[in-house]
């Protein structure tokens, strides 16, 4: 385990520029992860800047070509450029991931905070409900929603959002309960502050802080789940180059054209790994390193 070292600037020395200091304090892996995220952000907002081909342009003379200089990630069964299609799909994939995470955390916040602050009855009821929701595997719950409401982007967001909410709700409940018992809340109560003010000023801000980390990690996991659903053929309709849909489309060619399956997966993995690295870095910064090297 590393012992934290405190470096004080020599008296009279010039303070480094804040940006330089920030850059120096960030490990290389986090910098790389940030660069990957920036790439995907550009891809989502301005795909034309990164594309090498028209993502819809078929080319029957260049069908199922392996990755090369002309086609970075190869071509599909109609000669479309896989790399450009991946870039085109980024916006939708990230949108679904963000939407599902927002819904999931919104639900979780509502349930978790109510359980943590609503008294014993509310806590008992919500905890039981969460226990029961926990018994359903995430993907099974998501498929149940797809069955009932049919295949659409909205269903995908709801399915992934509801499927992942119980885990976050439990974490938030635990956090609220922990903060409620903290010394400074006790002190505020002893000083005679109104309960509403204690909740607003002390409990909520401290209980919600870990949410930054959860949000970061959650987006990655939501994209993994959503693309999993799409991979099963239950995601967004086929012509869309959403990452999961690309995986699904490449599935029948996997023995002949591995790049159709491996490259979209690589995008998902690169994105999910980057948010995980950044999320863990944030966690270490916000909450201090706990027992992890």
């Amino acid at each position: 385990m590393n012992t934290p070292t405190l470096t004080l600037p020599a008296p009279g020395a010039r303070r480094p520029h804040p940006l330089t200091a920030l850059a120096a304090s960030v490990p290389g892996s986090v910098g790389l992860a940030g660069a990957v995220l920036l790439f995907f952000l550009v891809a989502a907002l301005w795909p034309q800047a990164l594309q090498t081909h028209d993502p819809l342009q078929m080319d029957l003379a260049a069908v199922l070509q392996a990755p090369s200089a002309a086609h970075l990630f190869g071509t599909d069964q109609t000669g479309r450029d896989t790399y450009s299609r991946l870039i085109e799909g980024t916006r939708q994939s990230l949108g679904i991931g963000l939407g599902a995470t927002a819904l999931s955390l919104g639900l979780a916040l509502l349930l978790g905070v109510t359980a943590g602050l609503g008294g014993r009855v509310a806590d008992a009821v919500i905890s039981r409900v969460l226990d029961v929701l926990f018994a359903f595997p995430t993907l099974f719950l998501a498929l149940l929603f797809v069955t009932v409401f049919g295949v659409s982007v909205a269903t995908l967001i709801v399915a992934v959002g509801v499927g992942t909410a119980p885990g976050y709700a439990r974490m938030i409940r635990g956090q609220v309960l922990a903060v409620r018992g903290a010394g400074y809340v006790e002190a505020a109560r002893a000083l005679g502050h109104a309960p509403a003010r204690i909740v607003r000023q002390h409990i909520l801000p401290n209980a919600i802080r870990p949410l930054v980390v959860m949000l970061t990690l959650g987006v990655g996991q939501s994209i993994v789940w959503a693309s999993g659903l799409a991979f099963l053929g239950l995601g967004v309709a086929p012509p869309s180059p959403e990452w999961g849909a690309l995986l699904d489309a490449g599935r029948s060619y996997v023995t002949r054209a591995w790049w159709l399956e491996v490259m979209p997966g690589l995008a998902i993995v690169a994105f999910a790994l980057s948010v995980t690295v950044i999320g863990r870095h944030l966690q270490d910064r916000l909450e201090g390193k706990v027992g992890r090297p």
Partner: protein, 326 residues
Amino acid sequence: MSTPIDAPGRGGRGLARARLLWQGLGAVAALWAAASFTFLVQTLMPGDRAMLLINMAAGNLTNPSPEEIAAVNARYGFDDPVLVQYLRYLGNLLRGDLGVSFQQHQPVLAMIGEQIGPTLTLAFSALVTAWVIAVALTLACTAREHPLSRAASALQVALATIPPYWIGTILLVAFAVELRWFPVEGQHSLAGLVLPTLSLALPLAGYLGQVLQDEFARVLEQPFVTSARMRGMGDLGVRLRHVLRHAVLPGVTLSGWALGKLLSGAVLIEAVFARQGLGGLLVAATSARDVPLVTGIVLTSAAVYVVTNLLVDHAYRLIDPRIRLS
């Protein structure tokens, strides 16, 4: 979780029995709640279920007469008040009747029974494999200043993040398609189980390894470890005999939770390797909107989860006899 320690002696067995009864009741209540939840979701289904059924049977969009719709409604009881439908649903569940598939007109329970075997085999072998990998890595790497152990812990973070279906695809392409070490489709052979098991086990091993190692590192600092070392015990002996047993506890709790993850993962892995099992059934049922079959499978998975977690709770007590009551 509060864990009062009961007094040894005659009271112990009676208390144990009471606890078993209490836990059984809890499991039944959880299943009842799960069934109610799936029923609730079904009632939210937009559109007319009778129409859906008729279209499903006809294979295309039809324009059925009111009489036809009424006949279907009467047969499935869609016209009854929701409360009546709910009670009938629960009553059928109690008799082990999960309903009849909309699409294939077979009892859902029998269809699940046919397919659940391979899925449970896959999930269970993945769980065992994940444990073996995680324990081996933990024993070898925790709290050792070695570049390899740093690499191992980075690898675990990566494994826990990578979706199992992508690992599956890579393994399939590399070892079955290119190298031909394993069959591309191995339904009934042990060799065919290797790649699917690994794809499912590796992400879980990543999770499990992180949890085990945190706990392992903590236990390594405990006084009884120091005292064992002072008695002259070797490093490996200390790790195996004293530390592992303690470090394993949070992993056991995690295994119950991991089952849900494994079942979700198994559905995807079965799709990657075109294996038979619950996954194929569930996906086909979902795209056909075969509500009874999907709810039946979802409920079954919840039941498997509830039962497994009862067992995990008991395993926990075997490993740590100090915990008697919860």
